[in-house]
Amino acid sequence: MSNKSLLLEMQQVQLAIDLIELGARLQVLETETDLSRARLIRLFKEVRGMSPPKGMLPFSTDWFITWMPNIHSSLFYNIFLRLQEDHGCERMEAFIKAYQLYAEQVETDDAETVLGLTRAWTLVRFFESDLLQLSTCTRCAGHFVAHAYSPVHDYVCGICQPPSRAGKTRKRQQREGVQAQAVEQPAALAHHHLA
C-alpha cells in the first residue's frame, strides 16, 4: 500500500465512489479496485449512508435471457461494446458510461431500471468468460444477449416477437385504458343487468 502512487489510489477511490453511487455491491468494488475491503466498507457507508448489503451475487446466466431483462441487458451491452470497441474507452470507464447511458434511456422511457448495476457488471463478466454471446435478430438486425453457442440462423428477438405471455407494461396499460373503457362498458352494463 505504502509504495503505491497516490494518484493511482485516488483514481481507484473515485472509481469506487462512482460505482457505489450507481448501486454497486461490495463484490464489484473488491474485484475492480485494489482498495482493501475495510476501506471499501467505510467508503460505502460514507457514500450511501448505510452498510453494504450482504449475500452472494446472482450467478446464473438464465436471468439475462428472460424477456424483459434480456431487452434491458441487450441495450446496455450494445452501448458498452460501442464505447469500448469504437471509442477506445478503458473497460471500467466504458462500463460506467454505458450504464449511465442505459439508465438515461430508461428514464426517458419512464420505465423501470430492470438491469441494476451489479447485474450489468455480472453480464460483462459472463461475456468475458464466453458464457454469453450476441445474436443478431433476423427481423430488426439488432444484437441481443443469448446463451453462448445457441443457434443464430433463425433467431428473432423478444421485441419483434414477444412471448405470448409477455406482460404489458404499466405505461401501455394506462395508455390503452381509454380505449379499453369503450370496449369494457358494454360488459360492465351487462354485469349491471345481472346484479
Partner: protein, 108 residues
C-alpha cells in the same frame, strides 16, 4: 418562396446540430462520440471549429446530420411492429446503439 424558407431551416438545423455537437463533446467526450457516432479525430476537429467555420459549414442546401437507421426494413420493424409492447423507443435506442462510429478516414 417556400423552398427558400425550407433551406433557411436546413441552415438553422445544421448550425444547431454543430453547436450541440460541440457542447456534447465538451461535456463528456466518450458519451458524445457515442451519441454522435463519430470517431476521435472527428471529435477533435468539430471541437476546434470557430463561429465562422461553423456558419460556413451550415450554409449548404443539404443536412449535415445523417439518418440514424440503416435500412427501410429496419425502420419498418420499429414503426410497424405488429406485436408492439410499448418498447418502441427502447428498440430504437438499441438498434442505434449497435451502429459503429463513422470513421473520418472512410468518409474522406
Amino acid at each position: 418562396m417556400q423552398i427558400n424558407k425550407l433551406i433557411d431551416e436546413i441552415h438553422e438545423l445544421n448550425l444547431a446540430y454543430l453547436l450541440l455537437a460541440q457542447r456534447l463533446i465538451n461535456e463528456d467526450r466518450a458519451s458524445a462520440r457515442f451519441r454522435l457516432k463519430i470517431d476521435d479525430e472527428m471529435a477533435d476537429l468539430l471541437q476546434e471549429l470557430n463561429a465562422r467555420q461553423l456558419t460556413r459549414l451550415s450554409r449548404v442546401n443539404q443536412l449535415l446530420c445523417h439518418f440514424g437507421h440503416d435500412s427501410a426494413e429496419q425502420l419498418r420493424q420499429l414503426t410497424h411492429n405488429p406485436r408492439e409492447q410499448g418498447l418502441a423507443q427502447f428498440h430504437a435506442s438499441l438498434l442505434m446503439a449497435s451502429r459503429p462510429a463513422v470513421s473520418s478516414a472512410a468518409e474522406g
